[in-house]
Symmetry: C2
Subunit: 274 residues, 2 copies
């Protein structure tokens, strides 16, 4: 998917919501567990129920890998289902990959050729040649970790050299590797006040923002400091939506939660989109 199409979808749905598919066999409704593929069935029902309020889905690879081959088959089916039925949603492989060039090339193949994701999250620690192979695909995206939402973000991401913090340096250097058409950044909602500074470095790029909801970030603050003239935000919510309920009615409750957020996003788009 390209930049213009992504922005078009945001305007059409009046939403910049991404639903995180952190699907955990321990947490899904019991009535699904007797089915042949409970993980896929859960995802399918969540997707069908929330797709009107959502512009992106983000399966978290760890959850599928933790279930072995069966989990990866469920993931493959989920991605195929999304591509077939909802080709206009943006698909994010939340995989936090990154390795030396010839290896990153293989990861790019895994996510962009085998699985048909639009984008993959990548860790910046190994530098340019670990990121570049992902940028060689047309209309595919790297979502580079800049400032993450967790406590551990303070361990290294704020390391300061010549008054530039590491996460700022990641933004600055990587501006030379890709463009706003093929690169986004992860910026945690739990550090929304820093979005003002981040927007000085990357005014036009999309930011993928996790940490609203379960992790405590504020959607209003994220929008206030982070929104630009093409929205520039994809805000993820996982647990608050997909595990809002675990009865037979779970998908409807998930839809209600997604709709609530979408309505808030509509107001925020009216307020802050310049």
């Amino acid at each position: 998917m390209n930049f213009d199409k992504l922005f078009e979808n945001i305007k059409e749905k009046q939403s910049f919501l991404c639903v995180g598919l952190d699907t955990d066999i321990e947490k899904i409704p019991v009535h699904l567990k007797q089915l042949a593929d409970p993980i896929f069935e859960f995802n399918k029902q969540i997707i069908d129920a929330t797709v009107n309020y959502t512009i992106a889905y983000k399966p978290n690879l760890a959850f599928y890998e933790s279930m072995g081959i069966a989990g990866l088959l469920s993931l493959e089916k989920t991605v195929q289902y999304l591509n077939k039925n909802y080709p206009n949603v943006f698909l994010i492989a939340d995989a936090k990959r990154g390795d030396i060039g010839n290896t990153s090339k293989m990861y790019a193949k895994a996510f962009f050729e085998n699985m048909l994701f639009d984008s993959v999250t990548v860790a910046p620690y190994m530098g340019k040649d670990s990121v570049s192979p992902f940028l060689e695909y047309k209309n595919k995206w790297v979502i580079l970790l800049a400032l993450t939402s967790n406590e551990g973000a303070y361990d290294f991401q704020f390391t300061q050299e010549n008054n530039v913090k590491l996460f700022e340096n990641v933004l600055k250097k990587s501006l030379k590797w890709g463009t706003k058409e093929n690169m986004m950044y992860v910026v945690g909602a739990t550090k929304a006040e820093l979005l003002k500074d981040i927007r000085k470095i990357v005014p036009n790029h999309f930011l993928l923002v996790p940490g609203v909801g379960a992790q405590g970030g504020s959607l209003n603050e994220v929008s206030k400091y982070g929104m630009n003239k093409t929205c520039g935000l994809i805000v993820n919510s996982s647990r608050n939506i997909i595990y809002a309920d675990n009865s037979i009615n779970f998908a409807n409750i998930a839809a209600e939660k997604a709709k609530e957020i979408q309505i808030e996003m509509k107001h925020l788009l009216n307020k802050y989109l310049k």
Copy 2:
């Protein structure tokens, strides 16, 4: 596997060689391609031929993921084969994972419970809570990226705050997260001269050293600056061994290459093991 057993294996085999199983369907001998599972067959023959000279194997996850489910099935079979036939070799999942706590926990489950690896490579960018879940398993190991062998290492790993470089800070901080019994570090052979400084920070930990061979690092320099009284080195070679030949005789040639390195390692152990 625990620390003592690992050192015992090194003394017994007079080797600190790890063979990297970066198995690429494009590069394996053509005669294998007609078999039901060419990737597993290649790995099996490489393993059987090299195991006397080798104390560890390191499948690179990207190569298997790039082949989809079939690739992951080949990987699973390879790991099972190793655990069953050679329980004394150390198994490294070269996966470069790392995410927020509840997600890293899932990755730990994938590599330590489903796949029965001894260790997994982890990227430090997200800090302590992205690493800790891997450390909760007895006799399992985190191999944390410190100083990588690629060109991109210079982008961020040398960021300097108060005269401490980022990779040194990764070593220093993480000393509080784990011990020499459950934590190792990736240090690229292409930067062997820095091993002297690194050994001042982590005198007793094992280091996983990629970059000897295809990437140009020197085994003698790595040993000179990096070896400690329990060896403390696991040196990886991938392409130079597994793709040394692609005829029907490939496994024998791989064994010869591994043996050459093992003989060199025997001399280096005699010379530098204190």
